[in-house]
Symmetry: C2
Subunit: 410 residues, 2 copies
């Protein structure tokens, strides 16, 4: 079976259109293929259900489409409308992550007098490791009259924040990661379409070139400052550290979040033009790492331990300020992406890092970390936080469960 | 040699840092690699020099970063500043398309007290079929006091145009296409950086999921309306048609453009939310093709000839209005990309098609085509042209020549 031959429509055809596709043998991570397939990873399917949501410790795919939505439904129907949408979303999301269309029949449906139930632009494309990760903003809990977990409090303002409200917040979020941007965009677009009448897009962000590995099987990629980014990131293989720093425990205060995690999203504009006029010495001093190998200053291996006693690592170097030992042991799971969003109207590219990080409690992890960086990190001279949001991402789903069920049926 | 091992830095190391890399054996299209390489196409190198510029009939890569720049230099130094920049750009572009850094020394340069001569974010990445295609806007000819070829006249306004001046025009353009978005972004960003003081970014556009094949070796991809797009596009293999419709002839009126072509760029916002609420019957009627296979209505094969006598193809179907036979034989070479640029602030994704097309004379090809479509194409109810530009892309470069030399030394 060739890569090109393995399409959404053939997949459906083989399994019988409309049948429950996932769970019928595709949950093993990768579909079996012949040795002749030119690009097997494109067919990879990441299981949708599990202990935790996919897209968090899944080895970071290379492309992102992230969307934050507001619930437009109001009044007595609000809760019911949200539940109905989340059930529909779950069914569609499970199908799409398996490489199927959003609904049976899909783009070329049986009733041509009706709008297609899939928008069609991914018809010929494989699953491409698509993951869809779902989160709830504190503002939705407020609307629903549900108390927020302490971890879901709004972030405080940080020094030098330049937040655009139009790029911040949101009642719900969906993070789509895939190895093909068209697959990620297709998934978000279809979920947005299904939300019409209940939700509206608040903001959305595309990203490429994942800047943080989430698995020891991955190499470290570079951000748009040209440096390897996230070398000391938490990794999927370190389950003890994930339990300590990423997954919410039943005793953390909100039973519906047990096994879940909190997502902090920050749109970080990088003033690349200014950075590019800075000397290599200054860039490496600010970062605390060498640009070539990514090794800590004074070392030669990227993964060499960071010796904070070394005078080669400046007092205000980014890796010192962001290190666990400078922050009382705080660590987070980063999963960010580079972005270029056209130009800024002033002759520059509007480029930067879309910072995504998962953690057990933003108030105890992100807040002290960002407070320290905002105050002392000289890299702040070259960046600007223009968007910010926090979402609660509940645990993964068992069979038959839907996104948000632990919250809405608590 | 593994894919990961084949980096810009090792490439330089192997050839001797700072040596003239291109032309020394990498012009054959693909570098030789071992059979163990997991993803050989990522290493593909498209020759920079040739009869025509690369990136026009090169099999369309999957990712785009397009930038339009204005020349900020003025007065008596204008011409000299432009020539100097175009020479520097040519050297850097040739290096980057071969997978090398923008300048010898590059991101980890020999003089750490100076800013690096490459921004570094592509250090570990292969060439990924990068092409850089250069064009000149009519506004630059006006500034230089050089008469415009008739083909480079400004486009007339079309019905329903909703053009944003901030997304239109430009003195110069660079089209970067690659199989990895970070490689395309890196190239544009470094050229933009080198232009500081002479040029400033006017607008830039990222794209993915090329919507038009430019070679018979490629499959037709889908646009964000979910339809296969560009089935009847001109193809690289049809050299007679390219000579007739794409390449400017010496007798066309501007000697410096012989062997070149004109690029029309249109940012076409698609109102996907409205489209998604339209029936399949209506979508197929508007298009004139079936959504599943892309075959003309009434046929089953995508590449079946379009029978304009068939009553199944509506009078105002897009494929009828855009067909060569409806337009007196006019054809163009399309090379567009899908885009999603965040959201529009009104609850919708800002998504669409970044239309790029190469042709011998926009006035005789694009203008009558777009005039007919703007007047009669019912698809116009679902789209909006928000940006527009025309550039003259001169012929390819011989050894030692620089971008724009035929114009500036005419």
């Amino acid at each position: 079976m060739s890569l090109r031959g393995f399409t959404r429509r053939r997949l459906l055809g083989a399994a019988g259109a409309g049948t429950a596709l996932v769970g019928a043998g595709v949950a093993g991570g990768y579909l079996a293929g012949s040795a002749a397939e030119p690009d097997p990873p494109a067919q990879a399917i990441v299981p949708f259900r599990g202990v935790h949501q996919a897209g968090i410790i899944t080895p970071a795919q290379d492309r992102l489409h992230f969307v934050a939505l507001d619930v437009t439904a109001t009044g007595p129907i609000l809760r019911q409308a949200v539940v109905a949408l989340l059930k529909r979303w779950t069914t569609a999301a499970e199908r799409m992550t398996a490489g199927a269309e959003a609904a049976p029949g899909g783009a070329v449906n049986r009733n041509p007098a009706a709008p297609p139930t899939d928008t069609g632009e991914a018809l010929d494309l494989p699953a491409a490791s698509l993951t869809l990760t779902f989160g709830v903003g504190g503002s939705l809990l407020d609307k629903l009259g549900i108390p927020r977990p302490a971890a879901l409090a709004d972030l405080p303002p940080f020094q030098r924040d330049q937040l655009d409200p139009a790029l911040s917040g949101g009642d719900l979020c969906i993070q789509a990661c895939a190895d093909d941007p068209q697959v990620a965009v297709h998934a978000v677009r279809n979920l947005v379409r299904m939300g019409f009448g209940t939700t509206a897009v608040r903001w959305s962000q595309l990203g490429f070139g994942r800047t943080s590995s989430t698995s020891t099987t991955q190499q470290t990629h570079r951000n748009l400052f040209g440096f390897k980014d996230g070398t000391n990131n938490l990794k999927a293989e370190d389950t003890a550290a994930l339990d300590e720093h990423v997954w919410a425990a039943p005793t953390d205060g909100a039973a519906w979040m047990a096994g879940g995690t909190y997502l902090v999203a920050r749109r970080i504009r990088m003033h690349v033009e200014t950075w590019d006029r800075t000397s290599l010495t200054e860039q490496e001093s600010l970062t605390g790492r060498t640009k070539g190998t990514g090794a800590p200053m004074g070392a030669t291996d990227e993964f060499a331990p960071v010796d904070l006693g070394s005078p080669l690592i400046a007092d205000d170097a980014h890796i010192r300020l962001a290190s666990a030992s400078s922050l009382g042991g705080v660590r987070i799971l980063r999963r960010g992406y580079n972005f270029v969003d056209g130009s800024d109207g002033a002759g520059h590219l509007d480029a930067g890092l879309f910072f995504l990080a998962f953690m057990r409690d933003p108030q105890r992890q992100f807040v002290p970390m960002q407070s320290a960086l905002a105050r002392h990190d000289r890299m702040m001279e070259y960046i600007e936080h223009t968007g910010s949001a926090v979402f609660a991402c509940p645990a993964g789903l068992g069979d038959g469960a839907y996104w948000g069920q632990s919250l809405l049926e608590a």
